[in-house]
Symmetry: C2
Subunit: 427 residues, 2 copies
């Protein structure tokens, strides 16, 4: 057991997932069980809440509310896309430690993707250098499923289940109405990796089922190839259902579509994508002379708590709880990973550890051999990988109005002790 006693901060970062609140629930409920952890705080809007000393008092929340976080969309403590400076001497990391010192925070749990693991790593290292005893643990989260060192990421199983269901259902629509709406194009999230787009391939239980074509960032396309693909499917079936990953590029490395306007880049320096489906529609209508329509579920896909994967929810919870257990045992500087049992015939999954610095610098794309030779659908290897992650339906509560009931944390901000923050990310 860790000799270190003190308070803890948990924070959520980046795009929400269907199950990031399950991880939050796991962290909180396990932290309540650990004697070494006294008060539990959450960064309100992720790391911005730490910088601005906006810490939510979790201990004072209703226990039913905490339990309800297990199946609740988005990020209940708030999230952000604030990217801390690459420079460890920017002042931001010192500010985080200043807040932690002021509130006797000795445990920091950061739930996010590789940018967040980088942040956690830098905070951990600065604490070491300055002799402030702090245990830092990462909790994996991303619908993109692109973190290295983990078999898969919490959040992925649910987006896969929901988006594949969407494709199955709207694929039936195209099948019914192909004499009018001959082609449907659905846009999946995924900046650099096609894990989400690929998961919709699960909807095609049989050859002619939607989706007929899936385009991946890992398999660049040309306009000619798209036109050939669409014509071939159309000639065979009289209809075409396409899933396109927002991050699809051509063979010269240009994105199929980039959003125009004044907000073309986010604060991480990533290009803001979103127009891949509309761009593809233009190609299909102009070059193939086939009427096409687009479905762009956007943020719906990462928040479908009404049809979340139970496997995903339970693993997300496990990652949160395990991070606290390991921290209480004195482990620091690691992210919890998910480890698939390689022996068992039935799916089994335990946890492991990966260094924060390793995760920060890694990225896992879809192996090219899990995409078919034509570069437009998944192989059985992909199916075997994704299928168990999508299993089970997380139970939800439905209100008298026929709609889901999701909990909300009370905005109880812990009394502030430091000067107002005036640096980057000032709120």
């Amino acid at each position: 057991m860790s000799r270190l006693k003190g308070n803890c901060v948990v924070a959520q970062s980046g795009g929400p997932t269907t199950v990031i609140n399950a991880s939050l629930c796991g962290v909180i409920q396990e932290a309540m069980r650990q004697d070494c952890i006294r008060e539990i705080y959450a960064g309100y809007n992720g790391i911005l809440g730490v910088l601005n000393e906006q810490l939510l008092d979790i201990g004072g929340q209703d226990r039913q509310t905490i339990a309800g976080l297990k199946v609740c969309p988005a990020a209940a403590a708030g999230s952000c896309r604030h990217k801390l400076s690459k420079d460890p001497k920017s002042g931001e990391y010192e500010r985080i430690l200043e807040i932690f010192r002021a509130h006797d925070v000795r445990y920091f749990f950061y739930c996010g993707g590789n940018d967040s693991m980088d942040t956690a790593d830098k905070v951990s290292k600065l604490a070491n250098q300055t002799g402030y005893e702090l245990i830092v643990m990462g909790v994996p989260k991303t619908i993109d499923n692109d973190l290295a060192y983990t078999d898969h990421c919490p959040g992925y199983g649910s987006v896969a289940k929901y988006l594949a269901t969407m494709v199955m259902e709207s694929g039936r629509d195209t099948e019914a109405l192909y004499t009018h709406d001959t082609c449907t194009i659905m846009e999946a999230m995924g900046r650099n990796a096609g894990w989400i787009a690929g998961s919709t391939g699960m909807a095609a239980r049989e050859l002619d089922d939607a989706p007929h074509l899936i385009y991946f960032p890992e398999a660049p396309v040309t306009r000619d190839k798209i036109v050939d693909d669409v014509r071939r499917v159309h000639a065979r079936l009289g209809r075409v259902f396409i899933v396109v990953c927002e991050g699809v590029k051509d063979d010269k490395g240009n994105y199929l579509a980039e959003a125009g306007g004044d907000f073309g880049q986010d604060s991480f320096g990533h290009k803001q994508l979103g127009g891949a489906a509309e761009a593809l529609r233009g190609i299909v209508e102009k070059d193939c002379r086939i009427k096409a329509r687009t479905n762009k579920p956007g943020t719906l896909q990462r928040n479908g708590a009404h049809f979340a994967s139970l496997t995903d929810v339970e693993e997300a919870y496990m990652c949160g709880a395990k991070a606290v257990q390991m921290a209480a045992e004195g482990t620091s500087g690691y992210m919890i990973t998910l480890v698939r049992d390689p022996e068992s015939k039935t799916y089994g999954c335990t946890t492991g550890l990966a260094k924060l610095s390793d995760v920060a610098n890694g990225e896992k794309k879809v192996p090219r051999e899990w995409i078919n030779k034509d570069g437009n659908h998944i192989t059985d290897e992909f199916r075997k990988y994704a299928m168990p992650l999508m299993k089970g339906e997380a139970p939800i509560t439905i209100g008298d109005d026929g709609l889901p009931v999701y909990v909300r944390l009370e905005k109880r901000i812990v009394a502030q002790k430091c000067a107002k923050w005036t640096g980057p990310g000032k709120m």
Copy 2:
């Protein structure tokens, strides 16, 4: 009881709904119980299947498949948007009667919106004029909820339930990530009526819940008004969630957005809409200087069988079954309507009848007084109307892969007896 004995044809028309197959199931299962009906056929791809003598043999289908139609997205027998000529002498109506004569069809059940009721009416009248004994009954269907003479339309309760859930869930995403994605704009279907857009207002159980703004075709907007609305909500909450109906117009009657390209109109002569959310995003980003993103669920919203309203499913089934019962009693030339019990405190609904010709020429919009004075949200009257329609969750089967299992009709086409069709709608 009707003395008339013979075969029946059922056909599905227009955009699918989550529950049009429940109506199909109701027609088929009730037709199997009626002695006056011998064989049951379905027009494959709606009225196109009749014109082209592509009739699906329903009697030969597996009974479990028929039962499974009750919760199954899209139109299992196929649908179409083929608009029959306004001119009763076009040859199309004669062709329909030719097919009906050849196959001894004495009962015709047409499941669709007001265009379909117009078709059914013209077929009915021509049969009368030519002395061919034929019973014609309409079964209401449209997510748009815009049919006159019926309290509501099968299909509406499910799209309302699902889309409101989508707004609730992605509204939480905006709430969590408002420091980055400050405004989310979701596009709802609805060419002329804002019933669907309005239903998302149900997601706002409390004042600050999404959606904060809803725009209706029934309440024209100006660019200035939108900008004022968005600024006011943003100043209060720091975030804005907007639902915009695809058919929203400005005060001069111009659509907020019309799809460009070569396919700007469908064969009904309707303008093909779809860009309202993107148009609105442009306004919000340019005039309000707020980053916005769009969700366009498109055909997803009308096919969410995994979260269908049980009330809607049961009423859709009831409409189909009742149409057959009335037909068997000799009633012809009517559409089944849904009649809400005006007395009871709890929701109750029975069926009634409306003349096909009346329904064909009617259209029901959202009463202006069910939209708030500002023209940007719903009133309690709207809530009271919509809430009971969204209640209950229709049970579905989930496969070993974690995805829904939906039935499919076998494509068993009845032996053809007539010359090939060469007129409009030739397949």
